[in-house]
Symmetry: C2
Subunit: 234 residues, 2 copies
DNA sequence: ATCTTGTGTCAACGGTGTTGACGTAACCTC
DNA sequence: GAGGTTACGTCAACACCGTTGACACAAGAT
């Protein structure tokens, strides 16, 4: 259901574009990846993609039904990339942390795609393998089937949710980012103690709010899982 | 730094538009809210906003520097709305859960804005009060200043991250959503046992992946916090 | 009553995703 | 090799988008 329907899977008639490039779905995904990496997520448009390919923008629609379809294909490639090199160490908690961070980082690498890769089910091999691996870790930890699925869902969505969030921060201009940090440092740190007692008390630590919270969040989640598996009753 | 600079805070010359409406920053935010609620996040464009207001779209730029500026103002309103009615019960864990869910729900209610409201520091009263309340709960639980900030950050970003994620799902057409559910049910549930052993084992529970994972995630986080405060050494 | 000026309107610019018509070159058959 | 089909790259166009500068006019100040 993913990209087919317009793509007969195997191409025969492969005509080079006016600039000599022979298009293919893979090549288009390549170009989209490079474009986003080099110019940022904002730079991704079908027209620019066409220019990068040395082809008319509308040629893309011979391979993908629309941009969402293309981003979906890109998403599955990312999932695959993020999992290459992943090996189970036997310590399921450590592996799960690695697993989550890999998902986070790959989603963060291409902010534009982060949403798609998580919201839609690509149903492709890379995704399927990743899910199988992740759920395998939780089964290995000792959770029953229902709990493994539930916890996997919580963990992955948390990692990807943070990615979606932090991706937004990357889109800010340097000036905006500095302004936000200053807001935590000055605007918040100087609030009156009587109206904002808690903020006043923790004022020294507020600049820490400017960074990402993935690792603390993942650590808390995994700590809870470790505890749940040790004391199933609690 | 928020919306001013173009807005002199107090308007004197208030001329009605051609359709008789008297514009104001508040009214524009109102209209933007309604527009997104009624038609979905996709429907939000400056032009449509103008139409909804009964004014020329460009009139919006008399009140906000650009769309981001407008969405920022909307963000702070949402934070305020989400916290109205929140009262501390004395059970910090339950309160924190409520706090997180309120953040999640208000962000989810307006998906388009979810990213902005979390990525940027609005530095406005509503935001400041919410942060004070949340950190207060963690201090009350017994965490020291640094831990309270760290845990608050993890909790809020997790709630909002899930909102950002689930918001994407809302943008799908009903047909797409059905397709995704079917993918979990059929595409995944029928995979071969030898290549996907773990997926095969949990196949009955996979449809649960279609929903949101906020609550499981928040529950895990809070369980970890509860444990951390009981056994500070662990 | 006159002047200033805030502000709503209009037209325009340069961008976007997407589509339908069209021709040509690449395969298949003979 | 010749001819026919047709896949696919190209082109032009459509309907949108955010944003801006010029302009007219009415509201408030004098």
């Amino acid at each position: 259901m993913a990209e087919s329907e317009r793509v007969p899977a195997e191409r025969k008639r492969r005509r080079p574009t006016s600039s000599g490039v022979v298009l293919s779905a893979d090549l288009i995904v390549d170009a989209a990846c490079e474009l986003i990496d080099a110019q940022g997520a904002q730079a991704f448009t079908v027209r620019r993609l066409g220019a990068a390919l040395g082809a008319d923008p509308s040629a893309v629609y011979r391979y993908f039904r629309n941009t969402e379809d293309l981003l979906l294909a890109l998403a599955d490639r990312l999932i695959g990339e993020s999992m290459t090199g992943f090996t189970s160490t036997g310590d399921w908690a450590a592996d799960l942390r690695d697993f989550g961070l890999r998902a986070y980082r790959s989603a963060l690498r291409h902010p534009q795609i982060a949403v798609f890769s998580t919201v839609r089910v690509t149903g492709r091999p890379h995704e399927q393998h990743a899910v199988d691996t992740g759920i395998g870790l939780l089964l290995q930890a000792g959770f029953d089937e229902a709990a493994a699925v539930r916890h996997y869902h919580a963990l992955v969505d948390t990692a990807l949710g943070h990615a979606a969030l932090d991706a937004g921060a990357l889109r800010l201009t340097p000036a905006q980012r500095v302004a936000d940090e200053q807001a935590w440092r000055n605007g918040y740190a100087g609030l009156p103690a009587d109206e904002f007692p808690s903020l006043h008390r923790v004022r020294e630590h507020l600049p820490a709010m400017a960074g990402s919270a993935v690792e603390p969040a993942l650590d808390l989640l995994i700590a809870a899982l470790r505890r749940a598996v040790e004391q199933p009753g609690a």
